[in-house]
């Protein structure tokens, strides 16, 4: 069983992002990077599946040189090898452009299962995985919490709204986008990092893969959210204030 996990490097959760001079992307110098959260869960699911049923986990990531550290982290946590698709224009590519890069790298591997996070923490398109499945010509399911082996394929648990779940069966090979929170993540260990040094990382370029970037969607501008203070102090006696609060919750906020 060969499982491919497509992962993305994104700015660290606590990073203070600033917009760069082009106004189209963030200032990357001095930024700390981390593995995209739902990709971390995709990797965890792949590793657990491998631990149960055997096989190989290969991580694939597109991005510049810096992506190497996130790839090593994935190898340290237990992935067997990696493919790094080198490109410096990730921010300018639309979801289709990124998916094409990944698909070209994955196709030669002929995987049984392709996993990726539901969406990225930075751009948050939520489409790359879905388009990737289409480009690879694989059946696809999204919002997956767990994958289990069944006769002739897999059973997956999807998260629906309001605490509802759906279990569906898929044949293999298949592609899935994974929801955060389905597993407990493992921590990176020193032994893992040391072992990762000897694991194979194959580097490919967009040109080698024959993937040209023809964006269908172009990013015009990014902006910081505006700070808005809408705190209201309700005056009067406690009874009056409570009554005013109920009034507001009912008719202004409409949560009651």
């Amino acid at each position: 069983m060969k499982i491919i996990v497509a992962i993305k490097q994104v700015p660290e959760r606590d990073a203070q992002v600033r917009i760069d001079s082009t106004g189209k992307w963030i200032e990357e110098t001095d930024l700390q990077w981390a593995l995209n959260e739902s990709d971390a869960y995709a990797l965890e699911e792949a590793l657990q599946f491998k631990e149960q049923h055997g096989g190989e986990v290969v991580v694939v990531s597109a991005g510049p040189e810096r992506v190497g550290s996130t790839i090593r982290e994935a190898l340290a946590k237990g992935a067997d090898r990696a493919i790094h698709t080198d490109c410096n224009d990730l921010g300018e590519r639309d979801a289709l452009g990124v998916a094409r890069l990944l698909a070209a790298a994955i196709r030669t591997e002929q995987p049984d299962l392709v996993l990726t996070g539901l969406q990225s923490d930075d751009l948050g398109y939520g489409q790359t995985g879905v388009i990737l499945a289409e480009l690879l010509g694989l059946p696809h399911a999204s919002l997956i919490l767990h994958v289990e082996k069944s006769e002739g394929g897999i059973t997956v648990k999807r998260e629906l709204e309001e605490g509802w779940f759906q279990n569906i069966e898929l044949p293999l090979p298949a592609a899935l986008t994974i929801q955060s929170g389905g597993n407990k993540l493992r921590y990176a260990t020193l032994m893992g990092i040391k072992r990762a040094k000897t694991k194979e990382v194959r580097r490919l370029t967009a040109a080698e893969l024959g993937v040209a970037d023809e964006p269908a969607v172009t990013l015009e501008r990014i902006a910081m959210p505006q700070k808005q203070k809408s705190t209201q102090i309700l005056s009067g006696t406690p009874q009056e204030a409570a009554a005013a609060l109920v009034e507001k919750l009912k008719f202004e906020v409409r949560v009651l």
Binding site: E12, R13, D14, Q16, A34, K184, L185, R186, Y187, A188, T189, L190, M191, G192, I193, K194
Partner: protein
């Protein structure tokens, strides 16, 4: 000149048969000793070399050896009566060395101390005095072990200890009795043989029992690493801490065989005293059991048969065990080493532990909060950002930056600094110092956090750090050294104590009991500074267990972030003890202690004393600033 009435009687003549018998028995006794001691020595020497071990400078080693071994200072100070009894036995043995060598030499016809010479005569009297002290001492220890029976000596009575005590007592009696029999008599010969046979029985028993410490512990004390909780660096790419026998170093093996099973470590251990699995004595004896069964080259995991996996993870790293140990065993590097082995290889699975590690892998602080919360706090307090012009970098730490009570402490300490006119600034970005992951044995995270912090401090050209957290202070000053050169750092108790004369004293004088934080006291040797601050703020009351013997709050070693599910809560035990002093205020000097005691004091009942950090106690007496001052702000926001 007055004739001395008593002379040590020695046999004047030995038959050939007697000499032969003595020689044969002597060789047999020595062989029996070596048959057991040889393999032990081999196991110690076969163990891995200690990474980072340096024999020099010798000054510290000679000082420790003189103080702890020759003077028996630690043995006596921590348990005065039994300690003194032990010291008498030890000094008796030392005085007897020459007498015993002569005694054996007499048997071979080459005795060199004759009862005629003035030196020998004097020496025999001196040894006689020591023999009396030693006999009284061993009798006292016998009574303690078999009649008083303190529980930390173990449930089971050790008959071998009883037998050894008898042998020692009998050795002294047979020596002393020889003063009262005529020289060259049958009685003298009988006493000589009884004394000799006792010696020859005693010798092979030594390596078979805890009395091995007679031979090993002087070396253990002399060779100990010396620093408190001195965690050795990992050696090379295949060293992940104490995973299997092959990871045991010579020092660890030597220490494992040196344990005298006195149970002082257990007596003072917060885990062992609150019903946890962990018992520091059993960890050391577990290692000894492992070495006996598998040896120092084995690949068998250390945490399986002889030591339970959970045991080292119940350690608060308070260091009471290491501080107490009279034979130089360094428990903390061993306990942290076992954790390193389990964490660095991913063997340890714990939901809370993994959560802490992931919080620090992905974020900046151990509390798992957004770093923007720290920014908001800094803005609200209007703390200046460190820009190289200020004297101090005020290190907030995770507790000071994110914990509500920790924030109050930092805010009050900042007020004190401002009042004193000391310039300070905070870093724009700060990561956890790595204290909890260092103690839990996650070397990867610790290295990442240390390097990021050292980098930020160097970039900001920080020369001096002051912090309200003893854990931060210790980690910055000692543990970061593995990866670079940290700036000078001090605890706020040291800073405030230095400026005490310029700080105002409060009008009302309340009683304040001070809780010594482990990382300030045992780890840093700071006991007087916080006390002086408290004496300035009220009447100091001492807790039953204080200073070097202070009882942990339960937070150290990363345990503040894990769950405490077995037995009684360490914090509750300590809180009841502090509340029991009747003091109006519990004074702390560590935000972790503060956090643990906060909940625990509430649980002790309605009349629980107030809980205040030394910074808060000091700031109370400062003149109030204009309305809308920083301190009241932070209180409202919580």
């Amino acid at each position: 000149m007055v004739q001395m009435p008593l002379t040590l009687a020695e046999p004047a003549h030995f038959s050939v048969v007697e000499r032969l018998a003595f020689a044969v028995l002597g060789v047999a006794s020595g062989a029996l000793f070596w048959r057991r001691f040889g393999p032990i020595l081999h196991k110690i020497l076969e163990s891995k070399r200690d990474p980072g071990f340096r024999l020099f400078p010798l000054g510290r080693r000679i000082r420790d050896f003189t103080w702890e071994v020759l003077c028996q200072a630690k043995v006596i100070r921590e348990r005065p009566l039994p300690g003194l009894a032990h010291a008498f036995v030890f000094w008796g043995f030392c005085a007897f060395a020459l007498v015993t060598i002569n005694h054996c030499a007499v048997g071979l016809g080459v005795g060199f101390l004759s009862s005629e010479g003035w030196f020998s005569r004097l020496y025999f009297y001196l040894a006689g005095a020591f023999a009396i002290a030693c006999a009284v001492g061993i009798l006292g220890l016998f009574v303690r072990r078999f009649l008083v029976r303190p529980r930390w000596l173990g449930e089971k009575l050790s008959w071998e200890s009883g037998f050894i005590a008898f042998l020692i007592f009998f050795l002294m009696v047979t020596y002393l009795a020889a003063f009262f029999v005529p020289a060259a008599s049958h009685a003298a010969a009988l006493l000589w043989w009884l004394h000799t046979l006792t010696l020859l029985v005693f010798l092979p028993i030594i390596p078979h029992t805890k009395h091995l410490h007679l031979v090993l512990s002087p070396a253990t004390v002399f060779l100990s690493r010396g620093g408190f909780s001195d965690i050795p660096p990992l050696a090379g790419d295949e060293d992940f801490g104490l995973v299997a026998g092959a990871d045991l170093t010579r020092l660890v093996s030597l220490q494992a065989y040196s344990c005298v099973e006195c149970g002082r470590c257990t007596e003072h251990c917060p885990a062992a005293n609150t019903g946890k699995i962990l018992n520091p004595k059993e960890i050391i004896l577990g290692l000894r059991g492992y070495l006996n069964e598998f040896g120092p080259k084995s690949a068998e995991p250390l945490l399986s048969k002889h030591i339970e996996l959970e045991a080292p993870f119940q350690c608060t790293t308070c260091g009471a065990c290491e501080f107490q140990c009279p034979v130089g065993i360094e428990h903390l590097p061993i306990l942290v080493g076992l954790r390193r082995g389990a964490v660095n290889t991913g063997t340890w699975e714990d939901d809370h532990g993994a959560k802490l590690f992931l919080a620090l892998e992905r974020g900046s602080n151990a509390l798992g909060m957004q770093a923007t919360e720290r920014d908001k706090f800094i803005q609200k307090q209007d703390f200046p950002i460190f820009d190289g012009t200020q004297e101090y970098c005020l290190w907030l730490g995770c507790m000071g930056a994110y914990d509500p009570k920790g924030r109050e402490i930092v805010a009050d300490f900042a007020r004190v600094m401002t009042y004193l006119g000391t310039t300070f600034g905070v870093l724009r970005k700060e990561k956890c110092t790595g204290d909890p992951v260092r103690r839990l044995g996650n070397d990867l995270l610790f290295q990442q956090l240390t390097e990021a912090n050292l980098d930020a401090l160097a970039q900001n050209n920080v020369k001096k750090i002051v912090s309200i957290c003893p854990h931060c202070v210790r980690t910055i000053q000692e543990d970061w050294k593995e990866y670079g050169l940290p700036p000078e750092v001090e605890h706020h108790s040291e800073f405030m104590a230095r400026h005490l004369s310029r700080l105002p004293k409060p009008a009302q004088q309340e009683t304040i009991v001070f809780h010594d934080p482990c990382y300030l006291g045992r780890y840093r040797d700071v006991y007087e500074e916080p006390r002086n601050i408290i004496k300035g703020a009220g009447h100091l009351v001492e807790a039953p267990r204080s200073r070097e013997r202070s009882f942990c709050c339960g937070a150290g070693g990363g345990l503040a972030f894990l769950s405490e599910e077995t037995g009684e809560r360490v914090s509750h035990v300590r809180a009841s003890e502090l509340a029991g002093t009747g003091a109006q205020i519990v004074g702390t000097a560590c935000p972790f202690c503060n956090s643990m005691l906060r909940d625990a004091l509430t649980a002790t009942g309605t009349s629980a004393p107030q809980l205040l950090d030394i910074a808060q106690l000091t700031a109370r007496a400062l003149p109030r600033l204009d309305s809308g001052n920083a301190t009241s702000d932070v209180r409202e926001s919580n």
